[in-house]
């Protein structure tokens, strides 16, 4: 099957600064992928290059089997909604109507429902809206377009928690009925974790983690309790981190635990807690920062 997005050896330099460094990545069609990483990791540059808004210094990009740069046949099947999206001097109604002309799968019904749910004033100029409301306009367009490849770069800047949850719910509901390839860059990792089928972590322009989200869930567990019991339980297991305060210790075991392990932990009066996606991403980025660049990709991908 042709990947929806295929990136090979993509590098982007800005006057001596390396924004992306040999990024290689394939994303299958019909999946929601989280693009995660710290500020300046290269997420926006990556999305801009995939969307054809920016040009790679080296490497190749294919979207739906062809290069997106200047390729109208590919671009009309994509949408890219970014944080701080610049809009023309249009009213909300005009922006949404104009967007509908460019997408054959546009859903007027979904757009209308989302406009209502976000409480967007149709006759107000987009430029006069609050930051959160402008983000909501982008979300309405990004979802109603039903583009085969949908790219969101921090689409909910300034949105309140209720509206963000609305975005997650509507994305999942519409995705179920109309599968597409969604790549979502966000810093609100745990909040959006339930959406992701795949997780890609960028750090300093490199892919340091690229794995199925299911493989990450339960991949590492925090074990806490009496130090002697923790030491007994973690003996022979890979341990990422351990912290001890007086007689209590907390350690992170980098391995999946089965029922036997859990029963043993209970017998030792240990508390088990799976690491959240955010903790795993922090770990991946932190380890990459401390490792020589040439080792990071392989190390973290196998983690």
């Amino acid at each position: 099957m042709t990947p929806a997005i295929s990136v090979a050896g993509v590098t982007r330099r800005y006057r001596g600064q390396l924004a992306l460094d040999q990024v290689t990545l394939d994303l299958e069609p019909g999946s929601i992928t989280g693009l995660l990483g710290r500020n300046g990791a290269g997420k926006t540059t990556f999305l801009r290059i995939v969307a054809g808004h920016e040009f790679a210094s080296a490497g190749t990009v294919a979207v739906l089997g062809a290069s997106p740069a200047g390729n109208q046949a590919v671009l009309r099947r994509m949408i890219f909604i970014r944080e701080g999206q610049a809009y023309p001097d249009f009213r909300v109604r005009q922006v949404v109507r104009a967007a509908s002309w460019f997408y054959p799968n546009w859903s007027h019904e979904l757009a209308g429902a989302l406009l209502d749910e976000f409480g967007l004033p149709l006759d107000r100029k987009v430029g006069n809206l609050s930051r959160g409301m402008r983000s909501a306009v982008g979300i309405v367009i990004g979802l109603a377009a039903r583009a085969e490849v949908t790219l969101f770069d921090e689409p909910y800047a300034g949105l309140d928690a209720v509206s963000r949850q609305l975005f997650y719910d509507r994305l999942l509901a519409d995705y179920a009925g109309h599968p597409r390839t969604v790549l979502l860059s966000t810093h609100l990792i745990d909040e959006a974790a339930g959406l992701f089928e795949r997780v890609v972590v960028l750090h300093r322009g490199r892919v340091v983690l690229n794995t199925a989200a299911d493989d990450l869930r339960g991949a590492a567990t925090s074990v806490s309790g009496p130090a002697i019991a923790v030491a007994e339980f973690t003996a022979g297991r890979p341990v990422w981190d351990s912290r001890r305060i007086a007689s209590q210790e907390s350690a992170v075991v980098a391995a999946a635990l089965d029922e036997t392990d859990r029963a043993r932990a209970a017998a030792l009066h240990l508390h088990l807690e799976p690491l959240t996606l955010q903790q795993l991403v922090v770990r991946a980025a932190g380890t990459a920062a401390a490792s020589p660049p040439e080792q990071t990709t392989a190390q973290r991908t196998s983690a």
Binding site: E54, Q72, L75, A86, D89, W101, F102
Partner: protein
Amino acid sequence: MSTWIRVARYQLTGRATYAGLWVGPALIFLLNLALAVTGVGARQGAGSFLIIISFNSLVTGALSITRQLPFALALGVSRRSFYAGTALLAGAIAAVYGLGVTVLELIERATGGWGLNLHYFRVPHLLAGPWFLSWLTSFAGLALLLAWGMWFGIIYRRWNLRGLLAFIAAQALALLAVVVIIRWVHGWHGAGHFFTTLTTGGLIGLLAALAVAMLAGGYATIRRVTV
């Protein structure tokens, strides 16, 4: 509906950009009219009309790029399609507005200068002949100015203010080079002869050729614009 037509429709959605082209000339015309009625002002407004419509056309062309391009790219429009659709609309706007200028010029002529001997739309040597030549001249002139403005907008989008200033400086240098060359080859007489004997048809051709050159320049520049 092709993407070019969609882009043209998208450009027209705000309307203010292209409608604004007429605001300045209309206000100055009303001012001239008021001055003519009170007998205070001069009866020749063609200079101000030419200056303001030229400036407005340049600005309109530039705004059609700087304001509209980022969101169009977000909607999956390629740079070339955006440029082609915008240029198509600029051509249509130039044709329709050129016709408007021609009609106003004919009314002005027929009413003896709006009954006040006021000559605002009739520009001697440019917009003073048969209606179809006036129309073609207006069309070619407006198309040139809109295309030139679009190129300014693209330069600004690609290289910001620094690039825009360099672009203006490069054009000034090119003009200076032409002057120096004419002076060097003692060609002032020939240049003067060329412009004084230039027919309306020749002028239309010259304006159209320059418009095509501007469009080609803009097309070459927009291919690597990033937003």
